[in-house]
Amino acid sequence: MNANEMSPKIGSRLNRIKTVSRLFRVIVGVLVVIWVLLAALFVVASVKYALGGGGPPVPGAMQFHISFSPHQIYTVPFHISLPVFLLGVVQLFLGGFGLILLNRLFTLYERGDFFKTENIRCIKFLGLVVVGIWLTQTILELMARQYNIEGSGLVYGGLVVFVAWIMDEGRKISEEQELTV
């Protein structure tokens, strides 16, 4: 067996990674579809409310309850101010972007790319999405006068960005070694 051939053990490991990645990609794909529907519902309902003059909720009218955190449940489109709505939209889009990034990451893993620049970029942006969601959530909670702010989102997101940076530096070192003749 020469260096370029794959041992059966490596082959079976790769196949396992590909199978699990495909499964996760499908799950995330379904979540993306749900996210698109939810985002459309949120925006359409809010625009409908805004065009209707923003009056008090009609008794018996359909209301959508969207929860961004265990502490807060928003009733959409009623009873929310414009800044809260806009922050909700930003948070919703950040969540969707995160799902798309996850989908892309699992697609790359399925393809057999593990430590490429694109993987690292996906991981870095996932960390930034977590930080972004934490930031919008914090602003929303401050606006709702809830001052028991958690910093876990910032810590986790920051850690993911840090790990992505380490991975990128490691990839550069490895690339340099590979390209030393």
Binding site: E175, E176, L179, T180, V181
Partner: protein, 75 residues
Amino acid sequence: MPIIVNLDVVLAQRKMRLNDLAAAVDITPQNLSILKTGKAKAIRFSTLEAICQTLGCQPGEILEFRPEPDPKKPV
């Protein structure tokens, strides 16, 4: 990168194939191809020595410094 690898030129002058050089200096043709196409980030002195010895040339014939034009300076 301003360092240009002229290995293909020297090989053509010596009428030598890349695979033959690879065999002579005991480097894989893939690695030598990385050097020839200018993708290499670094070259070991031992590799350079072996190449120069086989091709009977100086390092300066293989490597050339061509400064990149400064975009800030007017032409």
